[in-house]
Symmetry: C2
Subunit: 379 residues, 2 copies
């Protein structure tokens, strides 16, 4: 049964990853016979309710499309639109793996992975994120810990909370929800998180280890890791490709540039001071948009067939919505999807992957911490 | 007298930084009236014997060349060859500043800056570097400490040496000469160096702080820092320019890319897996060659007027030399200097700057450590 599920799972992915591209436009060429790369977990399993709708049809389609997707003369290919990279579906699949891993941790060490989330103040968006994180933890069997501190909490009090979680054997990951109020030195708080529990990967030691060849960070920041995971799961080739990262933030642009370079892409970081950002982006085989400007990336910013990963989530006024706004990415989705080879939607692209990578980091971290504790202090 | 020396010093630099460039070829435009940016030291002084040869002539030339250098119609400019960025001269000037700073440290805290260099084994090149470092320290008034350990020293013994220097109040900078023998875990040794004394800037925490916006590393690696210092002292504009870094090593390529980006350049890192490295390099306003391949960068790799910083030092056979070889850079100097706007020679370019930046790091570090000690443990 497990084998059958695995096969169906892979077929579904393969179908989703195969598409019809014109020979001229094809930056990437797919082999539709090739299944997606192995999942991180040693156990791969299951389909979400949505994914399970028609795996057999998917397999059949895969076969009938195979020639066309190769762009052979027998089946001349015509470009239609980009393959949508489905972050929601991918997240669902990965969360199933994580649930299995979390259960395995509990069974092996008698303790579930534990994540502590610290929220300061009452920002609505932060509170929403924290709630989603707690729910996501519960869904995969990670135990949630948390503290909600008033806006005027002192730096020392907050530091004490972090230090207590550092010393707490039930907590394997600590996340301090950013931004913090202005009277608090954010760097001091983040640096105080034990390296072993820095599930957000924002500690300079982890960033340094990410930047340096021959080193591995204990944790890689969740959004950048999610971007790479999407590229990998959709078989987008990275090595030797031109990648442009639009934005140079500490939490997305900079680390994602290092991750792409570690996979042998040739990376250019484009930012607010770049002249002719449009022309540079249009040279990219892989374009990561993380600049926080609503629909800044138009079709003429994109190379035909490129893979476009949209990290932006920008609210724009929309009277048709109850809230009065809707979320859009940094990419003008409608026009770019006519030109790109792959594209992530907003919402439903990178967003769901961020929390999923946090859950993954936490589970892997718990395993590492608990194994170390079992091996004893000399290890 | 001091003022007169300062003026001569600045005139000399100004002359060296002004050149005749054609309007088409001018990637950078100079204002020959503009003196080089202020030196780091609050006191700027002195000329080396070489620099003092003809400062008056330099000043006169500066004035006569000013119109031509502006590329006006009255004095149509024609391209000749690149301005040579003289790392030796620049080093001499900076070392004079450092000597003053070191003397000020000794006078203020009753202790000279101290640098400990640890050498393992008997590699000829390493021993040569260590000797040059010791001599350079003596010249500027930095006290040298050092240990020479046998090739078969154990990792624990080496670690103990580092820890002893960490605890030694007379030592403000620790440098472990690389590479280490294979039986020693290099990462473990480098990570053991106290962050406060990591004058080489190779600790992941320092690299992470370099990579992250809004942070400053305690120390920046010496060769990358030297490259930036040369660009700054020769008034090469960086902000908004396209920079290509050829090579992605931990000690040059990666940190220099971060330094350039911190100055608002748009940076592309080109490496062994890059397709069409030549075309990418030819787009660069600033090209940093640090790939370790003798004369790989030919004229057609360089944009007219670009600033080319050559970090390579590659031995090539040369029967005319006693040693049987000579050192060349990663850049084909002769042909590239006909096309570039600026170029560093090898030797005499980046090389001398590396040790100079080490001396600067050590002196600044000593000041920081001694000030902290004076302020007391609560600081």
């Amino acid at each position: 049964m497990l084998r059958a599920l695995q096969h169906m799972d892979r077929c579904l992915f393969t179908f989703r990853c195969s598409r019809v591209v014109s020979v001229q436009q094809a930056t990437f060429r797919f082999n539709p016979q090739q299944c997606p790369p192995p999942l991180n977990s040693s156990i791969k399993l299951g389909l979400s309710a949505r994914a399970a709708e028609s795996p057999v049809l998917s397999c059949a389609r895969r076969q009938t499309r195979s020639l066309a997707a190769m762009g052979t003369a027998e089946a001349p290919a015509t470009a239609t639109e980009a393959q949508i990279i489905d972050g929601k579906l991918t997240s669902e699949l990965i969360r199933k793996e994580i649930a299995l891993e979390a259960a395995a941790v509990k069974s092996k060490y008698g303790k579930a992975p534990g994540l502590a989330v610290v929220l300061v103040g009452s920002r609505g968006d932060s509170a929403t994120y924290v709630r989603s994180k707690k729910k996501a933890c519960a869904d995969v069997g990670i135990e949630s810990f948390g503290r909600e501190l008033p806006e005027d909490v002192s730096e020392e009090e907050l530091l004490k909370v972090v230090q207590d979680y550092n010393a707490d054997d039930d907590v394997h990951g600590i996340l301090v929800q950013l931004p913090l109020p202005k009277h608090i030195n954010e760097q001091r708080i983040l640096d105080a998180i034990s390296l072993d529990k820095d599930v957000d990967g924002f500690h300079p030691f982890n960033i340094g280890s990410l930047a340096m060849r021959g080193r591995q960070p204990l944790y890689t920041s969740c959004t950048p890791k999610g971007c790479l995971e999407l590229l990998r799961r959709y078989n987008v080739p990275i090595s030797g490709k031109r990648a442009v990262v639009l934005g140079r933030s500490n939490i997305v642009g900079m680390p994602v540039a290092h991750l792409l370079q570690a996979e042998d892409a040739t990376v250019t970081v484009v930012h607010s001071k770049t002249k002719d950002a449009q022309a540079l982006c249009a040279e990219a085989d892989i374009l990561i948009a993380a600049i926080g400007k609503a629909e800044m990336v138009k079709a003429d910013w994109v190379k035909p067939g490129a893979a476009v990963i949209d990290v932006g989530t920008n609210p724009v006024p929309d009277d048709s919505k109850k809230s009065g706004y809707r979320l859009v990415g940094d990419v003008a989705f409608r026009e770019v999807k006519e030109k790109a080879g792959f594209i992530t939607p907003v919402p439903g692209g990178v967003g769901p992957m961020t929390i999923t990578m946090l859950l993954q980091n936490c589970t892997e971290g718990a395993q590492r911490i608990l194994e170390k504790a079992r091996a004893g202090p000399s290890s």
